[in-house]
């Protein structure tokens, strides 16, 4: 662990060369950046990283199951968003793995675009806006699969909600945190 600690007096932001030298390639426990050791809870960080993929998969389950059982794009998106929230709460704003490579506004826009396009797709085929159709086809291993076109609307909802939650984290979460850090830095 000592190898991954920043040297004395090294700022926790910005440069990350100290980390590249001897840290393991798989970042399991540490993301490289870490908050002040007084604010850290290693246990929470570990749990967050362990649970994170599972929660994401669960959110996908909710998204797809919504048509038949409890769930749907909205709750799926919220669950996925809260996976990121957990990640943020554990790692803080400098945990770069808590941010997705896509910026939240892009995610929001993608979601809205998918939803609107789903609504318009039936038009060229002689349907009305937002009409839905279901397709059933057989897949070798999985058996018969039924896909309803309104699923794509739900995918749009899902992405948009994730985007909204990430935007929340970006502004109220890391934004305010950066502000506080800046102010404290200024006072010192």
């Amino acid at each position: 662990m000592t190898g991954a600690e920043p040297p004395e007096g090294w700022p926790n932001t910005g440069e990350r060369t100290w980390f590249r030298s001897d840290a393991p390639a798989e970042r399991w426990l540490l993301s490289g950046y870490s908050r002040d050791s007084r604010e850290r809870t290693i246990l929470l960080e570990l749990i967050a990283r362990v649970v994170f993929p599972t929660v994401l998969v669960f959110s996908l389950y909710l998204l797809f199951a919504g048509h038949y059982r409890s769930g749907g794009g909205f709750s799926g998106g919220l669950v996925a968003g809260q996976a990121f929230v957990l990640r943020y709460l554990a790692g803080g704003r400098l945990d770069d793995s808590s941010t997705v490579s896509m910026r939240p506004p892009v995610l929001i826009g993608t979601g809205l675009t998918i939803a609107v396009i789903t609504g318009l797709v039936p038009v060229p085929f002689g349907g009305v806006v937002l009409e839905s159709a279901s397709f059933t086809f057989a897949v070798p291993v999985l058996g018969e699969i039924k896909i309803v076109s309104s699923l794509f609307l739900d995918v749009g909802v899902y992405l948009l909600i994730i985007g909204v939650v990430l935007d929340l984290l970006r502004t109220l979460g890391s934004g305010i945190e950066a502000d506080i850090a800046e102010r404290e830095g200024g006072r010192r």
């Binding site: 919504g66 048509h67 038949y68 059982r69 409890s70 769930g71 749907g72 794009g73 909205f74 709750s75 919220l78 669950v79 968003g81 809260q82 929230v85 709460l89 939240p104 506004p105 929001i108 826009g109 979601g111 809205l112 939803a115 609107v116 609504g119 038009v123 009305v128 806006v129 937002l130 839905s132 279901s134 039924k146 309803v148 309104s150 699923l151 609307l153 739900d154 749009g156 909802v157 948009l160 909600i161 985007g163 909204v164 939650v165 935007d167 929340l168 970006r170 502004t171 109220l172 979460g173 934004g175 305010i176 945190e177 950066a178 502000d179 506080i180 800046e182 200024g186």
Partner: protein, 789 residues
Amino acid sequence: MLALVVSHLLVALVLSLVSMRHSRAIYPVAALPPTAALCWALAHADSVLAGSPPVTRMNWSATLGLEFAFRLDTLALVMTLLVSGIGVLVLLYCRWYFGTPSGDAKRSASLLLAFAGVMFGLVLADDLLTLYVFWELTTICSFLLVGQSGVSRESRRASLQALLVTTLGGLVMLLGFIVLGESSGTYRISELAADPPDGAAVAVATGLILVGAFTKSAQVPFHNWLPAAMVAPTPISAYLHAASMVKAGVFLVARLTPVLSEVSYLPVVTAVFGLVTMFLGGWRALREHDLKLLLAYGTVSQLGFLMVLAGSGSYTGELALAGMLLAHGAFKATLFLVIGIVDHQTGTRDIRELSGLGRRMPWVTSVAVLAAMSMAGVPPTIGFVAKEAAFETYLGTGAVAAVEAGIVAGSVLTVAYTARLLFGCFASKRGAVPTEAHPVPAGMLLPPAVTALACLVLGVAYPLTDELAATYAERAAGSSGEYHLGLWHGFNQPLVFSAVTLFAGLTLAAHNARLNLLRSRLPRPLDAQRGYERIMGSLERLAVGVTGRVQVGSLPTYLGIILLAVLVVPGSVLLMRVTPIEQLRWWDNVLQLPLALVILVAAAGVVRATRRITAVLLVGVIGYGIGGMFIVGGGPDLALTQFLVETLTLIAFVLVLRRLPARFTETPSARRVRLPKVLVSLAGGVFVGFAALIFSSARDTPSRVSAEYLEHAEEGTSATNVVNAIIVDFRAFDTVGELSVLAVTATGVASLVLSSRSARRRKHARSDWRQLSATARPTAGEHGERGSA
């Protein structure tokens, strides 16, 4: 036809995605869809001229009666020749103009193509609302193309001005369309034209529609956005602001002339505004030194001329209009592209700096001369042919003669600024050093050469032009006439006018320098640009004033107003129609009791809490308790959503709390309004409680709607979860609406938080800088270091 229009947009979309890598090839590829459109239109030319135009209709919202209707009639054919023909050439030209693969080049390719697509849709539209949709899309394309990357302040301002002015007109026009469509019962233009409506409503609609046409076609007093838009790269100006988009207003008037044939004031209004515009544009063009601005004012002038002809409604007038539309498109595009070449190869387009280019660029010069001949109306070009027809239209006495005089005067100015343009750009001037110029690539010269040749060919092959123009004129005016486009009609009045125009124009050009001196002394009581700026300024002041008064910025005040509104409006109704609460039960399920207890205790705790975090957590407990109620009541979907939203709200609260004091504080002024606050909150709470009881007791059977939903969920949407079926299927339109609200809200909140942060950072930076410069004057070296850091 819809497929052709959509293919433009699709290719544009794909281009914007791949343009990162293949920046050289994008322009030739972008030229493909307009080429297809042009070929398609030419292939149908025979049937169009024979009077059986191809029609496409697509009903996209049957219940609202909304459809996309397209129809390639003669006017649409003429406009397609301009839009797609010049579009192809401009796109090919762009490949040379935007030499280095820059961001502008990549963005402009897909935007220009998208513009060509929507303009194509606009000229084909046979439905007023379809037309409106494409109309506003062209405005948006123009905004993006003029604004470019938005780096320079000038381009931002010009694009905004163009957007505001044309959108204002567009909205007024939409109102006119609705009045016209509703009063006559159909929005389809061909049906309206077959049976022209009349009455007061149509007269009003005409006025509203004309506002739209005048703003788009830069008629006085809306003309100023057009010269301002010249900050755009020259090919864009050539295409949008000379050959195609600005003609949309003229096109609209021509399109609606048969529809509005019962409106008697239409020709008068278009003639008055058109003539004023024609004269003013020509007058201003004589003063400009920037070649592009000179041409821009020339375009304003020509648009005025076209507007006069479009509104005339007579056979000869419409004949002249068709000829003039083709002529103007060809010569104006040529001249803009030539100026683009000059600007690109010499680095300047100022008349005072250019000299001796005629000798350096002989080919460019001859192309320009050909186009200029057409602009000035020199035989045997199409410009001459069309102008003869225009002179023929207004032969007569009284008011008609006044219009003729106006046209002649405007044409004199046209000849004068044409001469000024040619001499200023290409002539060798006494005492001036010949301008250095890079050699012109053949590929760059080819597009203007093609359009310049078109000026000549359309004039020499006038029977061909006449067939197109006369077919259009007969259908637009509803009658046919003796007159036909031609180079020679014998010695008659129009020929005399043409000769007089040329002679007077050249004389005017020769004395222009002296005239300019005189002109600079004339008072300028009205300035459209200053007027625009003044209006915008007062609008902004008004907005600030209203916001300052309406938004007091106090959260308790906002909450109080909301609660009071709830109490006054639904509350009073509830009191007046109070119904006895029936079937009041204490519980449905024993589990509700402990949950209710938890909620009540937490609610009491919130009121008594002194620390913010306690209050927030207790509110969370209430939320979870209600989620528990949902589970007990048998709504797992609702409960799941409630829990998730509650968690997220709680986290958002906690995140924000970091910036707030730990405890609730109360200022002395807040203590004074404590009692009213308590009263309002109590009343609000009591109202909500009673409303819930009354509403839930009012309905003892499931509503018919829910029964329908339950019944149709399985076979209608193949969903077994009816909640989800409602969200994504039955009420999917609501869902999409809510999504957009959510997107807007999230973006708005994020922008507010981020902008306040960056504003604070700027302030910090400024105060740091002040401290720095106040304490110790740093040396230059330190300065540089700090700057780069």
